[in-house]
Symmetry: C2
Subunit: 257 residues, 2 copies
């Protein structure tokens, strides 16, 4: 493995708002045109979860949601909209922690996260607060599809990551995390490699896709300057492709669930 | 706040092995020379914890360590060197989780981490296994000193981050995290900012220094190609400077300790 000396991250400018059914590879091609750059083999294209979810039609009108009695009860306990809690519970395996204003769940995909990743910011709505945006149905599958589509429309063999901002248990502030990954090793295994002095490394696995996701997040913004697509150029992404699902620590290995 | 369109990360080449008492700003100046680049105002210089610890003389000869009875007992339980456990306990407020081969503690600086961040890889030793490297005494103070030294020797007003690789509770693989920070807001507060559609953002704080630390970690490597200094260029680091200590979630806000 050769580690890069230099990498560059480029946020694509001027992407239009994404609607259900939009082909994101087409929007990327437009953005590349506007930025006057070509996609290259080995680039990693990082998509903000929100645009992937929007393109996949994961927007839910809260007026269409009928909360179950359990959702009503949890909503009272945590002081949230019962319809939102209903969606959170549908998207989750179980509640991990709850407290007023806080609902940390194990998402059906295994992510331990607040509100099952359901977002009410940057979601267009006629009546504010009436829409919620769920995570993609299967973000690793979305990443694979996007990778194939980019190969067709831009002619480059890239890696693709779908990122989201997660809170962390012991640290303040969110950090970008990979919820979908294709075409690169989401996890890099260094087991058995010698360190600088020939000792075998004990720390053995690097969350490569998460570090890329965090880096891209630096350019995306969370507020009104949001830029949902970032190209990461110059990384060595060789190695067996591993989906973001491998980044989920199995519950039986987990000391903090 | 303007978010950058483009950022670049550059790993400094050819740094010599660091010895206690070395002035890291001088090594950075040499590396910049070798890379034929100048440090610019607004650059963020990210140092791997190991080189800062080595320069500050935080290497401990394990033969000089006498384990306490408690360290002996914990060492038996987790199957680690009792002298190493003694150092871990000295550097910690308390044990958070333990299991065979795993010792997660609350470091005296508040970081919840394995082995109090004490490292035995990439630590030169005559007799292998006889040395351990502790975290810097006060990494935020180290970052401030490095920032002042870089201003003197390179004439640039930079941000400085000291990073380390942390394991995460629910995700496999390590990710770079900021343990020291100077000259930039370690935490960026977005509270009250409108999102794309005018709704006030609910997710309010971004772990800016942690995302920069993770990005830099992509270029550092953990094994024999280690490059301990990375320049991050093009970020907007305006805002009130906040030390990495603000990234530590206070125990009373923490649901997972």
């Amino acid at each position: 493995m050769n580690i890069a000396n230099r990498i560059e991250l480029i946020a694509l400018p001027g992407l239009p708002a994404v609607k259900p059914g939009d082909a994101l590879d087409g929007l990327v091609a437009q953005g590349l045109d506007a930025a006057r750059i070509d996609l290259c083999d080995g680039d990693v294209v990082v998509f903000a979860q929100k645009v992937v979810s929007k393109a996949e039609g994961r927007l839910v009108d809260l007026r269409s949601v009928t909360p179950s009695p359990r959702a009503e009860e949890v909503a009272r306990q945590v002081d949230k909209d019962p319809r939102l809690v209903e969606l959170i519970l549908r998207e989750s395996k179980r509640i991990v922690r709850q407290r007023r204003d806080v609902l940390v769940v194990e998402h059906r995909l295994g992510f331990v996260m607040a509100n099952a990743g359901i977002d009410q910011s940057n979601v267009a709505s006629a009546a504010e607060g009436e829409f919620a945006l769920l995570l993609p149905e299967d973000p690793d599958a979305s990443a694979l599809r996007l990778r194939a589509a980019l190969a067709r429309s831009c002619g480059a063999r890239t890696g693709v990551i779908i990122n989201d901002s997660f809170g962390r248990p012991w640290r303040r502030g969110t950090a970008g995390v990979a919820i979908g990954c294709a075409g690169l090793p989401a996890l890099r295994d260094l087991r058995g490699r010698p360190d600088l002095f020939g000792r075998t490394l004990r720390v053995t696995e690097i969350g490569l896709a998460d570090e890329i996701a965090a880096a891209a997040s630096l350019l995306m913004g969370q507020a009104d300057e949001a830029r949902p697509v970032v190209i990461v150029r110059g990384l060595d992404i060789h190695g067996p492709a591993l989906a973001a699902q491998v980044l989920v620590r199995p519950p039986e290995e987990d000391l903090f669930r």
